[in-house]
């Protein structure tokens, strides 16, 4: 522990900040900040961002042309050792061939109150390290010197960049609270950037105004003309920002962290024009013209022979589609790379039998078209990459491609990158809202809902016999579908053997000892995964008892509430609808009768979102239990959090109830 807890997070990295007319002047420290011992709004915070000011300007000069100037000035108050890590900076920058970024004017200073005087410590040049991160990326690393409890420090730097197509993102939220965070972006009229604001915290100020500038356009003889232009200045300011904390059952934090991103949409110079993204229609038609996307689909399909076989072997189009899917899935090796463009050509990908998701799924589209099944690629953003907002027209938000096939009225979303999944299941990373279909047919360029509506199911069927000692012997059938099955199969395969899995499984139920175990359909996700086992629950010594207390679900229900925290800021995301059912038929020992039985119950979660049913009945020598939890809507908004918490509370209490048997 000791060695790794220190530098776990280097926040505040990927930003740009500017020489700014702002309320913070470098070197002018408010003595009140030095005297501060805590932050009233969050008394346990290890540090406080007093201010973080960024400025992005696109400027023009006669030698270099247009460039991005970025300046950042951040000032932080440290309260205790939990805030020390904020003084560690790694500022990455791009540096490859003729596209470069350059860090200049780097300053870092700490201020400490010592004997009533402010002591300033500047960073020494020699304490700034340049790391060659990779061929294209470097990083300037340093730690602000002389950080202690009570220190105020500030860092300012400037980056000049040739990378006009994507301005750096700015995050307005930190692992500690912040007084304010502000970004001003000034962009000449020649450039048009799409702006994407995200997060749950709202800006205090967000406005824009026009400002002026000029460029000098040179002729070959050195003469030239000066041209005035207007620029758009956008300002975003957040104040009193709470610290950002992650919660369980949550989609990518990038969906919730307050930030702003920019993407170059078009460039419109006085004498030329290049449009980048502007409309979804335009994105589609551009992509279809791209060599590493649409052009590949217009070429001949590289999988000729196999396509011929599929055509002749399967006349039913759906069967043909499934077999085409399986051919690609079984042949192609996924190299774990995302992105919307293919590596080289589809032919090369097929020859090498490996590639990115885009290679594999565009190959699938190409093959499907070749065998007469209508298919198009669909661009998506994976769960970790964040949700797509259709109103924000930004191609760079997508990072993945899947395929869609259409047969009659049915559509099928396909991803051939995971050998453990059947045609009708996408990898979980893909289940993330909406995707964008890219098609030659204009009217098909539209949104596609990715999240499936089919539910994951689990059924545990037990036939068990109670012994006079209170111990139980039983036969169990656990059947699971879809992602439940996928997840269990993954865990089983991670073990050295099925017996090893059985001992791990045992350990999660007190007293359980599995004697025989059998697994069906371990590799076939188009089928239910079945776990059959014979087992004993050793809950007591062997002497016969006058009274026997039994949990009728044998501990297979939900035994503790997964939603213990009282409040939650972000939605609960189960990803898929699901249902889990337990049926237990308990045979009583001879000479015993039922003394006490739990009552039946039906609990609903917000009318339609979910439900829990508990029914139990006794006949002569048997007790029959049937319970079922259903979650119909997998996304539960934070305002309904108390409902789901209470729902689970009632389930846990119900599953804790006992059956009492009495000796006659």
């Amino acid at each position: 522990m000791v060695k790794n807890i220190f530098l776990a997070t280097v926040i505040l990295l990927p930003m740009i900040a500017g020489a700014q007319k702002s309320s913070m002047k470098y070197g002018k420290i408010d003595p009140a900040h030095l005297a501060m011992t805590h932050y009233d709004a969050d008394t346990s915070a290890g540090a406080l961002v007093l201010g973080d000011i960024g400025e992005i300007n696109i400027t023009y000069d006669n030698i270099f042309g247009f460039r991005v100037e970025f300046n950042r000035h951040v000032r932080i108050k440290v309260f205790n050792s939990n805030g020390f890590d904020l003084a560690n900076f790694k500022i990455p920058y791009y540096n490859f061939r003729d596209l470069t970024e350059k860090i200049t004017k780097l300053k870092a200073t700490s201020y400490n109150l010592e004997g009533g005087k402010i002591v300033e410590t500047d960073i020494a040049r020699s304490d700034i390290f340049i790391e060659e991160v990779s061929l294209k990326e470097q990083s300037q690393n340093f730690s602000v010197p002389n950080i202690k409890k009570g220190t105020v420090f500030e860092v300012e730097y400037h980056i000049t960049s040739d990378l006009l197509w994507a301005l750096k993102n700015w995050e307005f939220q930190y692992t500690v609270p912040a007084v304010f965070s502000e970004l001003t972006v000034t962009i000449p009229e020649y450039f048009n950037y799409k702006t994407l604001m995200k997060g749950y915290v709202q800006p205090t100020v967000s406005d824009s105004k026009k400002v002026g500038g000029s460029i000098f356009i040179k002729n070959s003889d050195g003469s030239g003309i000066s041209k005035m232009y207007t620029a758009l200045e956008q300002k975003f300011r957040f104040e009193n920002i709470p610290a950002f904390n992650e919660e369980p059952f949550m989609n990518s934090i990038s969906n919730y962290l307050s930030s702003v991103e920019f993407e170059l949409a078009s460039v419109n110079f006085p004498y030329s024009h290049r449009d980048y993204t502007t409309t979804w229609e335009k994105i589609s038609s551009d992509l279809l013209k791209e060599n590493d996307f649409g052009v590949q689909l217009k070429r001949n399909c590289p999988i000729k022979e196999e396509a011929e076989i599929l055509r002749s072997k399967y006349s039913d189009p759906k069967e043909r589609m499934i077999n085409a899917y399986e051919l690609i899935r079984n042949t192609m090796i996924f190299n774990d790379s995302y992105g919307i463009y293919i590596t080289k050509t589809l032919r090369k990908a097929w020859d090498e039998k490996k590639g990115k998701a885009a290679d594999i799924n565009l190959l699938l589209v190409s093959l499907l078209n070749e065998i007469g099944v209508e298919a198009d690629p669909v661009l998506i953003s994976t769960r970790k990459n964040g949700i797509i907002h259709p109103a924000q027209i930004m191609l760079t938000k997508f990072n993945y491609v899947i395929a869609e096939a259409r047969i009659g009225d049915e559509t099928y979303l396909l991803d051939a990158t995971d050998k453990k999944l059947p045609y009708n299941m996408l990898p979980e990373r893909c289940l993330n809202g909406e995707g964008r279909r890219i098609s030659q047919t204009k009217e098909l360029n539209d949104w596609v809902t990715i999240n499936g509506e089919e539910q994951n199911e689990r059924v545990l069927f037990c036939q068990s016999k109670v012994e006079p000692s209170g111990n139980i012997k039983g036969e169990f059938n656990l059947m699971e579908s879809r992602y439940f099955a996928y997840e269990r199969a993954r865990k089983i395969k991670a073990e050295n053997s099925i017996d090893d899995y059985a001992t791990k499984y045992e350990a999660t139920f007190p007293g359980l000892m599995i004697n025989e175990i059998e697994i069906e359909n371990l590799d076939d996700r188009s089928q239910q995964l079945v776990l059959k086992y014979k087992a004993d629950y050793n809950l007591s010594d062997d002497s016969p008892k006058d009274l026997i207390y039994i949990n009728p679900s044998l501990g297979n229900g939900i035994n503790s509430n997964p939603f213990i925290p009282e409040k939650r800021e972000f939605p609960v995301d189960f990803i898929n609808p699901w249902s889990s059912k337990i049926i237990n038929i308990l045979t009583l020992p001879e000479g015993y009768q039922v003394e006490e039985l739990p009552k039946n119950a039906l609990i609903t979660l917000l009318e339609q979102l979910g439900s829990f049913k508990y029914t139990i009945a006794a006949t002569n020598n048997q007790i029959q239990l049937m319970t079922q939890i259903i979650i119909r809507d997998p996304l539960i908004v934070a305002t309904n959090y108390s409902n789901i918490r209470e729902f689970y509370s009632m389930i846990v209490a119900k599953y804790a109830e006992k059956v009492v048997l009495k000796k006659l």
């Binding site: 522990m1 000791v2 060695k3 790794n4 807890i5 220190f6 530098l7 776990a8 969050d42 008394t43 346990s44 915070a45 290890g46 205790n80 050792s81 939990n82 020390f84 003084a87 560690n88 304490d127 390290f129 790391e131 060659e132 061929l135 690393n141 730690s143 010197p145 002389n146 950080i147 409890k149 610290a243 090796i333 190299n335 490996k354 050295n496 017996d499 001992t503 045992e506 350990a507 007190p510 007293g511 050793n538 809950l539 009274l547 207390y549 503790s560 509430n561 213990i564 925290p565 006490e596 039985l597 739990p598 009552k599 509370s649 846990v652 209490a653 804790a656 109830e657 006992k658 009492v660």
Partner: protein
């Protein structure tokens, strides 16, 4: 998969190499003997490693290696991964992939590899680099072959050799060759070598060869891997590292060399010394003085690793650390020694191999075997050990990271071995005292959970986080099925021994369940007993790494008009392993339940594993029996 990294990478400073070379050999997977396949995910086909002592200031390591990957569990072992540091020379002679029939399908070229910085997250900057190539197989099994050589302009401890690099791995052929034409004196240590090892030794050339080693399958609660797998450690007695020359024929001389590296780096400015003297002027207690300066260190420094070249073993000057306020374990420990020196208290720079359980140390092999530095302050009957890289460690607490092991203390231009303290059964506990009360507003539980010894290790970290993180930890770690946290407070005690208290108050949804007349309640609200996994055919000894004793007290006011139908009292004793008991008293309608679990440290033969499993299983079942109440 468990990669034996802690064993093989125990050498902090040298490139960590665990590949071997291949000579002309049939690489077809079908040629692997059947008994080597059983239980294996990978098979080392041929691993031939050559350690060469070139001269008094030069050494090299050649690795010729071929491995057959049988399934995807072993895929991480296929990737080419050469760690090195700037200034070391790596020559890659050959790298290729073969299919299951032993036919070469790809030659790995320079363009397939990346050569990049390997500065980890815990380091601000250092000179470690990695050459990496990810292997993406089309089909299993397949075989990867590598051959490369690394040359070092120094002479120092070689990385540990083992024929295994992972569990579930068998070894067809493996060998280590030590070439020493200059006849430089060398210390060699062999551990756990199998009977069929073939060894030939001369002064200039020694070879250890292994054949057909069966896979090691991980078992719970087993001895350290360093007590199981064959290991060879090679350490030249002459050291030449940058411009520092030394000798490691004994711990004294190795210590002397280290003393030279650290020597003269402890001076502090006159004003700093005056300040330190002032800080401790109000106390005469030596322990108190040490504590004041340790707190000073914690409040004004933080851990950052910056190490280049000899900086991997030599600390920065104390005066530099005094200026910037940061450094790594060497820098901060050296600084701590300097702080104490300024107030005339003697303390020692101490080398240790850190890590929870998974460390190795060969006490009769004087050489570099350490990856961390702490400080030892001798006080009569009460030596204090200081971990200097943490801002939150209680004074004098080492925890599982550095407890109970051999360390090398640097003293008076020399070195000697000593042991860090062991936490015993009365140190290691999680105890609780919780009361449950029902009133008109609901059911509430309040009380204290206290942690000490090795059982407070993980909690210390959270006790020092902000409220949000603390609350998240408490919500996650209270062993209660359903509750709302009302309040909590952590308190850390440093005297006489470090311990930690958590005061909590929670609202329970209900304490008693049942709505048909009887009331049921679980009495194990804390320290629920987890049972080790059952093993059908135990192969290796049972190893219980430390002793502990947990005691939990629960007080409940019983609802009026009820009497008990089942009191789950019990007592289970197995002298070899421990004791469990649950004792219940009812007085004035208040039930007091005291549960105790003791487990004893020890090593037992494999056949006793099941007896231990049964002891834990019985205790767990007894512990989960419920209190049952019925109307009078």
């Amino acid at each position: 998969m468990k990669v034996f990294s802690s064993v093989l990478m125990s050498c902090l400073l040298l490139a960590q190499l665990y590949w071997q070379p291949a000579t002309a050999q049939n690489l077809s997977a079908a040629d692997i003997p059947e008994r080597l396949i059983d239980g294996a995910n990978s098979v080392v086909r041929n691993d031939s490693r050559t350690f060469t002592i070139v001269s008094e200031d030069k050494m090299s390591i050649r690795v010729e290696y071929s491995i057959t990957i049988l399934n995807e569990k072993a895929l991480p072992l296929a990737h080419l991964r050469i760690n090195y540091r700037e200034g070391e020379r790596v020559d890659l002679n050959n790298a290729a992939i073969y299919n299951e029939y032993g036919i070469k399908t790809k030659t790995i070229r320079k363009s397939d590899m990346v050569d990049q910085s390997a500065v980890d997250n815990a380091s601000l900057y250092n000179d470690s680099r990695i050459i990496f190539c990810r292997i993406l197989p089309i089909k299993y099994p397949f075989t990867v072959v590598y051959d490369y050589e690394t040359t070092y302009n120094r002479l120092y401890t070689f990385p540990t050799y083992s024929p295994y690099s992972s569990d579930n791995q068998s070894v067809e052929k493996s060998s280590l060759q030590l070439i020493n034409h200059k006849n430089i004196p060398v210390n060699v240590k062999e551990l756990n070598l199998p009977d069929n090892a073939v060894i030939s030794k001369t002064n200039e050339n020694s070879i250890w060869s292994f054949k057909n080693l069966l896979p090691i399958i991980e078992e719970p609660l087993e001895p350290l891997y360093t007590e199981i797998i064959p290991l060879i450690k090679v350490a030249p007695q002459i050291i030449q590292y940058d411009n520092y020359k030394g000798n490691s024929d004994s711990w004294e001389s190795y210590g002397k060399w280290l003393a030279k590296l650290t020597g003269g780096r402890r001076s502090l400015s006159a004003s700093t010394i005056t300040g330190l003297k002032q800080m401790v002027s109000n106390t005469t207690s030596k322990r108190e003085k040490v504590k004041i300066l340790y707190k000073f260190l914690q409040s004004r420094t933080h851990y950052i690793n910056i190490s280049l070249g000899i900086g991997g073993i030599q600390p920065h000057r104390a005066s530099e650390v005094d200026e910037v306020g940061y450094g790594d374990c060497k820098d901060l420990s050296n600084y701590m020694v300097a702080l104490l020196e300024a107030i005339d208290i003697e303390s020692f720079y101490t080398l240790v191999n850190s890590g929870k359980g998974e460390y190795t140390f060969i006490s009769d092999l004087p050489c570099h075997q350490f990856d961390h530095i702490i400080v030892c302050v001798p006080i009569e009957n009460d030596t204090i050990w200081l971990e200097c890289t943490s801002q939150i460690m209680p004074f004098g607490y080492l925890g599982s990271f550095t407890d109970n092991r051999n360390v090398l203390i640097i003293k008076d231009e020399s070195g000697f071995l000593a042991m860090t303290p062991e936490y015993n059964i009365s140190d290691n506990y999680i105890n609780s005292n919780i009361s449950v009360e029902q009133n008109d507003e609901g059911t509430f539980a309040y009380g204290t959970i206290s942690y000490s010894g090795l059982r407070m290790d993980d909690v210390v970290y959270y006790a020092n986080q902000n409220q949000t993180d603390q609350i998240a930890w408490v919500n996650k770690n209270l062993e209660i099925t359903d509750f709302s946290l009302i309040s909590h407070k952590f308190k850390i005690y440093e005297d006489p021994k470090p311990s930690l208290c958590l005061n909590v108050e929670i609202a329970l949804k209900s304490f008693f369940t049942g709505n048909n007349g009887r009331l049921f309640a679980s009495l194990n609200m804390n320290n629920t007993i987890s049972v080790p996994t059952r093993i059908r055919n135990r192969k290796r000894p049972l190893y219980i790494p430390y002793s502990f004793r947990n005691t939990d007290t629960l007080n409940i006011k019983l609802p009026i008009g009820y009497i008990s139908e089942q009191l789950p009292e019990s007592k289970i004793t197995d002298e070899r392993f421990g004791k469990y008991s649950m004792h219940i008293d009812i007085k004035d309608n208040v039930l007091t339940c005291i549960r105790t679990l003791e487990v004893y440290k020890g090593i037992h033969p494999p056949e006793l594993y099941n007896a231990f499993y049964e002891f834990m299983q019985k205790s767990s079942i007894a512990d989960s029996r419920q209190l049952v109440l019925i109307k009078e």
